[in-house]
Structure formats: structure tokens, C-alpha cells
Symmetry: C2
Subunit: 340 residues, 2 copies
């Protein structure tokens, strides 16, 4: 039983005594085994937490695995993030364990049991927030974790990697202004995601600095999917004074805008300029190829995995790493055509 | 040492004696441990193979993991296949281990060591062929494996899942013929992949059954990427008698054809009809949305993972499962415009 030799501020024997259970039961809880009654597990977890039990050294049972957990694998981001973690794993002779679990905000309750059994090097979470209990369980087993948070809403006491959403919104809008556009629409993401609001604020600042108005019809909230981009663009293009350019807030929404332009008989970029956000591979493949804001997703995942490796040897501290975004100009933007 | 108790036709002690090494060394080789000299490892592997050592029961150390191994994660297929395996894993309280490794045809040599250490439920390989040695290593440890082979070139003695490429090529071409097209071009995949040849043969059969010619300028080999589709389409559209429709052989190649049409000033589908192949998500998102041949990638991965679960309890046999393909009609195909 390896756990006996690795003590923090309280020994396993002390926890067992306080909980009125055997040392082997405490060890089972620590290792995420299923064969412990729920009330016993809760009691032991609480004692471990209260007394800040922490392994002083990594167990020799640590497996060469890096875990990555998504709430939604369908996300177009997912593949880029997997690539980044896989790159770091490969360079360190580790493999990647992939889980799709839970809601947008946190993993499913039973997920943590699996992690405790597998004893990975660490966990990369693609979530905005983690329940306190899950954090405590991972910490008490010295399993490092880092949040990748493209949504820009980081948990303050967990190391996380994000990117500069406000600057991205600003750069996209400035590009359109510099091309000569004056009526510029924005379709940002859902209203309850900080990254949507940050991109919108970047747009507003660029417009305001150029002395341009952002009429109410020109600011809309999408869903970060093709359908939302299409629907909001159709609405905007039907305005009495439609925009000559749309900052689409995500590449998928930009694809929806391209389709809205096509069914409206508008050519991109001649009749309508479109800027995406993310620079996922489809941005290069669309026709025309999208001008977009590059969010360095693969690099964000690499940084998160590198953080895990560092956290094995150093004490965890809540670092926030924010990577820069940058505008990539392709073929979906041009100077506005002079109309009638 | 668990291996002692699980004997096939030869015991570990017998292998050790023949190899002139200790039982613990044989056990290390079996478990993929690194601390065995290469010549010793080779000698022990050969003896295990010659004497058909096989565990008679699954080890209790089996981990609730299903492995999936790709030669190239960048493939647009990858996400769909991961989703399929993840669906089955989740339903069986297992996690997915992901590896990118090796060439198009087989995994890297050191990959198998990791698998032997992890002891997964089984391995899904996205490769055309496996080296004999790797097969023997997995078999001697009773680790089931199944090949997903969208390329249509299965290893005859390994269970595999593919799809009906010839029928897909036939259906795509018939659809264009039924719309009234007579000059139909094809951009199939690389010349050295069976799936490319099967799709091309399906096209040829449909053309021939309709009494139509397939001029040499109308049959081209691409790379299954956007660039190949673009380059080959530009060539075809410059022919003295360009095609009115192109069967693009993959969705990515179809996106390249859309861009070639755009830069040539042709509208899709009015001036040029385009059919893709695969039905990956971008097929729905392109503008116009692609008519394409649905290859059930997610379902293929689910079937492969289900096969693994069955292989745990049944003796492995080389099954080939071929799933049906089907035409999905969207907005990139129409009757040919009458040209002056």
C-alpha cells in the first residue's frame, strides 16, 4: 500500500481512526475505487480536505497519461486543442486520454473517479469553472490540472490559459474601418459568455475611436454556430441600410454569413466583407478564404500541457496565461463597393 | 506476478528456460517494460510467438480504456472517428486514449510498448496494415484490435470496418447523370489508395451504363485535400470542353472545386455542379452546402469499438464489416445550364 509512505499533514492512519474505518478503506477512497459506500466516501473526503492531506511526493504509480476533458467534442475547437496536448504528450513519451463529459461549465460527477484510478500526469480541462469538490479531490491526490478557457471566464484559483478576446475584436473592426467601411455589423457569441462580451467591447471601442455609430440593428448575439451566423446576417442584410461589412465573431458564424450573402445574391467581398474569429482550418477552406482573428488554440493547449508538467515539480499556483490574438487577412474582406 | 497463473500452450517458466533468462524478465517483456535489453526482448518475443503463448483469461489489471491510434490527427475524419469511439467508451464506463503515431500504413515501433503497459480493453487502429510483429505482440497479450479502414485496403487477417466505396462512386455519378449532365469530371484520391480506385470504378461503371464517355481530361487523381481539388478543377475548367459537373472524391477536394469555380467566375450549382464524398461537418457548412456521399465514419468507429468489446469474450476472428454509403443531396448540384 503505497499511500502509507506518502504523508502530508495528517497520516492515513489518523484519517482512518477519525473516520472509524480501516486504513485500506481510506486508501480506496484516495484511489477512486468504487467499492466504498457513499457515506463513508463523503466522510473520508471531508477529513482529507479538512486536514489538508496531501501527498508529499508523486506516487510511483503515476501513469504516462495526460488527460483532456471536453464538455462538447463537437466543438470545432476540439481538434486543435487535442493536437496541442498530443504534441506535448508525444514529446514526453505520454499518451492522451480524452473524455467528453458534463456541461459547459463543469465535468460530470463520476469523471473524477476515473482520473483518480488512472493517476495521470495531469488534467487539461476545457471548462469555465470547476466545482470546489472536484478541485479538492484532484489536489488531495496531487494531480495537477489546468483550465483552457477560450471563453475568457477563468476560475480565479486555478491555473488557466486563455487568449486576448478584446484585442481580437478591436483588430477585426479596425481592419474593416481601415478598408473604408462605415456601416459595420457584429454578430458576437452568446450573451452569457465573457468572450462574446469582450469581442463586442473591442468592436465598440474601435467604432467609437473612429467616430462611427453602432446602431442597434448592427449588434447581434449569435450561438457560435453556422445557423446563428446565417440567421442574424439575413436579418441585418434586410435592414433599410444594411452593413457593408460584418464581423462574425467566430469562423462558423462567418460561414453562415457567407451563405446568407449567397442566397441574398451578394458577392463576398465585393458586396459584403466578412471577418471571422478563431482561424480554425475551415477558415482557410471556405470560398472565399476567410479573413479572421487567429486564436492560437493549438498553442494554448500546448501551454496548458506544459504547465501540467511544471506543476508536477513545483507547488501549484493560480497562474493566468493569456496568449495574443492576431488578424489574418485572406479573401473575404475588401474596400466597400460604391452602391447605386 | 499475475502472468504465472495465466498460461497458454507454453508456460512462462518454459519460455524463460528456453531463452536462458529469468521468469521475471519474460514477464517484463510481456508487460512492455523498458528495462530489458533489446536482444533479450527479441529472443523472448520470438519464443512467445513460436510457441503461441496466449493468456487464457483477461488479466485483472485490464484498465477501462479504449485506445484509438491515428497516423494523422489532422485528417478531417479524425474527429468523427473519435466521437464514435468515445460514444461506445462512455456507454461502457471507459475512457479513450488517443495516439498519433507512425505513417499512413502502420504505427511507430515504440507505440506498442505503451499499449502493453496500459492494458486497455482494446485498440482501434486507423491504418491500412499492421506489421506482423505488432499483431503478434498484441495477440500474445490478448489485447483485441480492430482496424478502421476508410481507405478500403484491409489487412486480411485482422477484424476491420470499412464502407462501400465503389457504391458511393456509382451513386454520386448516377445522381449527376439523372440531373442531365453528360460531361462529368472526377477528381478521385491518390492513385495508391484502394478507396480512390473503387470510387473511380464506380464512376466509370455509372458513365458506361449510361453510354457516356470518360475522356482522359475528365479523370484526375487528387490528394484528398483542398489544394488538390482546386488545382485539378482549375485544369479541368480550362479544357476546351469543360465539364458541367465534377464528382470531387472527398469533401475537402469539393471545397477546392468550389473555390476554383469562384475564381473562374462560375456559380455553383448554376454553372457547375459539385459532389463531395465523406459528409464531414464542413459539407453542411460550405456555401452552397455540398451534395455528397455520406460515409458513416462515426458509426464505423462505433462498430469497431463494439467489436473490441465482443472480442474480449470471444475468440478473435478476421471479420470484415462494410457499412453502406448513401447520397445526401444538398445545394451544390442542379441540372446543367444550357450553354450557347
Amino acid at each position: 500500500m503505497r499511500d502509507d509512505e506518502e504523508m502530508g499533514r495528517i497520516t492515513l492512519a489518523q484519517v482512518a481512526e477519525k473516520a472509524g474505518v480501516s486504513i485500506s478503506t481510506v486508501s480506496k477512497v484516495l484511489n477512486g475505487r468504487q467499492d466504498v459506500a457513499a457515506p463513508t466516501r463523503v466522510k473520508v473526503e471531508r477529513l482529507l480536505e479538512t486536514h489538508a492531506y496531501r501527498r508529499t511526493a508523486r506516487s510511483s504509480r503515476e501513469a504516462p497519461l495526460i488527460e483532456i476533458v471536453f464538455h462538447e467534442l463537437d466543438s470545432i475547437w476540439a481538434m486543435e486543442l487535442i493536437r496541442g496536448v498530443e504534441n506535448v504528450a508525444k514529446a514526453n513519451q505520454a499518451s492522451v486520454v480524452l473524455t467528453e463529459s458534463g456541461t459547459r461549465h463543469s465535468p460530470a460527477p463520476d469523471w473524477v473517479e476515473g482520473v483518480l484510478q488512472r493517476r495521470p500526469i495531469g488534467v487539461v480541462l476545457v471548462f469555465s469553472a470547476l466545482p470546489q469538490e472536484v478541485k479538492q479531490q484532484l489536489r488531495s491526490r496531487s494531480i495537477p490540472f489546468v483550465i483552457i478557457d477560450p471563453a475568457g471566464d477563468p476560475d480565479p484559483d486555478v491555473p488557466s490559459v486563455g487568449s486576448a478576446n478584446w484585442n481580437g475584436g478591436l483588430a477585426a473592426t479596425r481592419h474593416l474601418i481601415e478598408l473604408g467601411h462605415r456601416r459595420i455589423g457584429i454578430i458576437t457569441g452568446p450573451e452569457d459568455m465573457l468572450c462574446s462580451l469582450a469581442r463586442l467591447d473591442g468592436y465598440r471601442s474601435a467604432m467609437s475611436m473612429a467616430g462611427l455609430e453602432t446602431g442597434p440593428g448592427l449588434v447581434r448575439y449569435g450561438d457560435f454556430h453556422v445557423e446563428g451566423g446565417f440567421d442574424r446576417a439575413v436579418e441585418m442584410l434586410r435592414l433599410p441600410e444594411p452593413p457593408t461589412a460584418i464581423f462574425a465573431g467566430s469562423d462558423l458564424q462567418a460561414l453562415g454569413v457567407l451563405e446568407a450573402a449567397r442566397v441574398s445574391g451578394l458577392r463576398v467581398p465585393h458586396d459584403l466583407s466578412v471577418v471571422g474569429y478563431d482561424d480554425v482550418p475551415v477558415a482557410r477552406w471556405s470560398s472565399p478564404a476567410l479573413t479572421t482573428v487567429h486564436q492560437p488554440l493549438r498553442q494554448m493547449a500546448e501551454e496548458a500541457a506544459q504547465m501540467l508538467l511544471r506543476l508536477r515539480t513545483e507547488e501549484a499556483s493560480a497562474t493566468r496565461l493569456e496568449l495574443a490574438t492576431s488578424l489574418v487577412v485572406r479573401n473575404s474582406t475588401a474596400a466597400p463597393a460604391t452602391r447605386d
